[in-house]
């Protein structure tokens, strides 16, 4: 699964640390999600989407392959 968290985070002028604090996780987790190393739970995905003011399906793209 790919995501556009970095793009939307930069648009909102948020750092990884700020996004992590707002979503209740660590900066390392945000970094791992951005690098597609870790897939977040539904709850965290919705929380991040809400903070970044986008819909979940705009933020996360399912890899067809």
């Amino acid at each position: 699964m790919k995501n556009k968290i970095k793009l939307h985070r930069n648009m909102q002028e948020l750092t990884q640390e700020q996004l992590a604090k707002a979503s209740g996780c660590t900066r390392q987790t945000i970094n791992a999600i951005e690098k597609n190393k870790y897939s977040p739970s539904l709850e965290l995905a919705f929380t991040i989407a809400k903070i970044l003011n986008v819909k979940v399906d705009e933020l996360f793209i399912l890899n067809e392959n």
Binding site: G24, C25, T26, Q28, T29, A32, K37, Y38, P40, S41, E43, L44
Partner: protein
């Protein structure tokens, strides 16, 4: 570096040292001499208490308000505990079966082996679990 990662790294170093120390000490002294002389138990117990004391101290010092366990930490720990348990069981199985193969004709095993197996399993399980946690943190 998250607090969970830091804790796993220190745990890995401490219990890795303890496991190697117990194994090397037991190998050099040998089971019979180990059982005959009380000083070996005392030396090993002191090292064990010191290592465990350092572990408890590390837990207290890293338990600050920055310590957040998020879902990724929980995911890594859940996977690692399962693998750690399995590897520890394999360790106990291997030591037990080697002892059986070596002593099956005499029918007796030196009791010092049981002491070694008990304490080394304790150190090994902590060491291997924290090692697997570190591995998973570097992967996800």
């Amino acid at each position: 570096m998250t607090v969970s990662y830091k804790r796993s790294l220190i745990t890995c170093i401490l219990f890795g040292f303890l496991f190697i120390f117990l194994s090397v000490y037991f190998y050099i002294v040998g089971p019979q001499a180990y059982l005959d002389t009380k000083i070996h138990f005392v030396i090993n117990s002191i090292v064990f208490v010191l290592t465990f004391g350092a572990f408890i101290t590390m837990l207290i010092f890293t338990n600050n308000k920055d310590y957040v366990i998020d879902e990724r930490d929980a995911y890594v720990q859940r996977k690692s505990y399962g693998i750690g348990l399995l590897v520890s069981l394999i360790y106990v199985f291997l030591i037990s079966i080697i002892l059986f193969m070596d002593n099956r004709y005499t029918g007796t095993v030196n009791a010092a082996w049981l002491w070694f197996l008990a304490y080394s399993t304790f150190a090994f399980s902590y060491f291997i679990t924290s090692l697997v946690i570190l591995f998973y943190y570097n992967r996800v």
